[in-house]
Amino acid sequence: MKDSRRTLLISLPVAILVIVAVFPFLWMAVSAFKPLSQLYTIPPQWLPDPPTLANFKNVLFESNIPRYFVNSLIISIGSTFLALVFAVFAAYGFARFDFRGRSAALAFVLIGQLLPTATVIVPLYIVLNYLGLINTYLGLILVYLILTLPLSVWMLTGYFRGIPKELEDAAIIDGASQLGVLFRISLPLVTPGIIAVTLYSFVATWNEFVFALSFATEKEMKTLPIGLAEFSTEFDTDWGAVMAASFVMTLPIALIFLVMQRMFVSGLMSGATKG
């Protein structure tokens, strides 16, 4: 009796949380398959009847969404990859080497993160323009690096600090070089951190709106979030298309989470030392 009450006490809030979190997603998925006439009915119609693929046909064959999708993919993968490379080396340096001004540098890394987006748009525009990087993949990739690198460095620094020093000493005694230690011992052990940074960086850049709006103005360079907004005009919004495009936009994120979840190996460190 007492047990079941406790179960209820735990499961009820969880259920509410899940519903609140998942409902918009489900509503989007369901609406994507509705014909226009069923989108605005009152009371709302729960399931499309009959389901239609018209919205998807519209989005995939008659809009610029496929092009935007590819742009987003290139930019997000590019900036995530670059962020990982830089963050691994920076974080390892911060975690392992004692150098003058280390804590100041580490604090400074975060200051960039604290500046409101609006304050950096103009300076960034001027710099990108000077370098001829407006409306290029590289331009947005570099801008997104500014966005994601600080937190990535901080996260990975924490993970690297969690590796016992003696483990690296053992590898050095075994004859590994400093880079060998990083790649053969430390990096495999911070896999959960690498995954966390990858997820964070990809999701943050995939959804980014303001920078994309400012620095990728040509049709050939626009990203998905901007593309979504194109379905809203001054007079009307094609909600069916928005829902279908949102559905398409969500797929890569869902896919990444599914794949990476399996790689989130818990207790990777256990067994290294006595405990």
């Binding site: 003696e166 000493d169 590898a171 050095i172 005694i173 075994d174 060998g180 290294a272």
Partner: protein, 360 residues
């Protein structure tokens, strides 16, 4: 030939000096134990020999070659860490073969070396496990296996047994000694446990606060400690110290600070009048009948029995004296007893801070 020689070795961490002009030689094939209280610089010393720490002064040579600036992998040493430091993502086999692989040894030879080391340590059934699937004792063995596959000239151990339970520790103590006899490699073994030092060492180096206090054979340290620190550190229960001075009246007595008189050898005339510390090992004290010549009184405050022997702690001579007796005791707390010291086994130290041994 792999003699390890340290010459005026200095190590500083910023303003803090961890090692003060350490001089020490480990002969080829010798098993030397570095012992001292926690924080005295044992690990630091071992890590400088390994090349994991840069030194601030002096020289380190291995096999006659000065290695001050030579990288760890070129020093031909292997090290076993206190935490074992096994690579958690590699199997036991991979852990053990890592060094050989980095050195570019051919795979068939690596396999052979790993199998041989595994056989010596009884690790064959565990070769394909990951460290987290091993018990503490097994991990310890793998850490040793990783060291011996490489067949190094010098083995360095940093408190390898301190995470094991008491029984396993005694067993591994013997195994490490056996391994040393079999491989014959020069070994530097660090511990804070003086019993480990006494039982394992060819030669003990006692350290305190970054200084070497004494170097010698275990029994030499036990029988003739160079100063009060070594005397108190080596031996369990610890040596008794009685403050006072040798009687000036020529009757060959040591007068403790509370006035108790203890008979000492006549040769101590030279020490007359100056304050000194008389030291007696607990097993060199005995409990005797009241009228025994030279006996001095004490009051029983603790009686502990270990089975084969009994430790009696008595308030006497202005301090607490431990007495180890072989027979079972019926002594009660607060009972008055008479103590007698073996005159031929007394030690004297200066009353100063250094507490150097006084000739006797």
């Amino acid at each position: 030939m792999a003699q390890v020689a340290l010459n005026k070795l200095v190590k500083r961490y910023g303003a803090y000096q961890a090692l003060h002009e350490v001089d020490m030689t480990v002969e080829n094939g010798e098993f030397v134990v570095l012992v001292g209280p926690s924080g005295c610089g044992k690990s630091t010393l071992l890590r400088t020999i390994a090349g994991l720490e840069e030194i601030s002064g002096g020289t380190i040579s291995i096999g006659g070659r000065v290695v001050n600036t030579i990288r760890p992998k070129e020093r031909d040493i292997a090290m076993v860490f206190q935490s074992y430091a096994l690579y958690p993502h590699k199997t036991v086999r991979k852990n053990m073969s890592f060094a050989l692989k980095l050195a570019g040894v051919a795979q068939p030879e690596i396999d052979k070396a790993v199998e041989r080391a595994a056989a010596i340590l009884g690790l064959e059934p565990l070769l394909d496990r990951k460290p987290k699937q091993l018990s503490g004792g097994q991990r310890q063995r793998v850490a040793m296996g990783r060291a011996i596959v490489r067949n190094p000239q010098v083995f360095l151990f940093d408190e390898p047994l301190s995470n094991l339970d008491a029984k396993l520790r005694v067993q591994m103590r013997a195994e490490i000694r056996e391994l040393h006899q079999r491989l014959g490699a020069t070994t530097v073994y660090v511990t804070h446990d003086q019993i480990e030092a006494m039982t394992m060492a060819d030669k003990i180096v006692v350290m305190r606060d970054g200084h070497i206090e004494q170097i010698g054979h275990p029994l030499e340290l036990y029988d003739r400690p160079a100063n009060r620190f070594v005397a108190g550190f080596i031996g369990s229960p610890a040596m008794n110290f009685i403050e006072g001075q040798v009687d000036a009246s020529g009757t060959d007595r040591f007068i403790a600070s509370d006035g108790t008189a203890i008979p000492v050898s006549a040769r101590l005339g030279i020490l007359k009048r100056s304050p000194a510390v008389l030291a007696i090992r607990p097993e060199d004290l005995s409990i005797v009948e009241e009228n025994t010549p030279g006996a001095f009184p004490g009051m029983v405050s603790v009686v502990e029995t270990t089975g084969p022997e009994t430790i009696v702690i008595a308030n006497s001579c202005g301090t607490r004296l431990s007495v180890v007796i072989k027979e079972r005791s019926r002594l009660k707390l607060g009972e008055k007893v008479w103590l007698s010291a073996d005159v031929s086994k007394l030690h004297f130290f200066e009353a100063s801070k250094d507490g150097r041994r006084l000739a006797a």
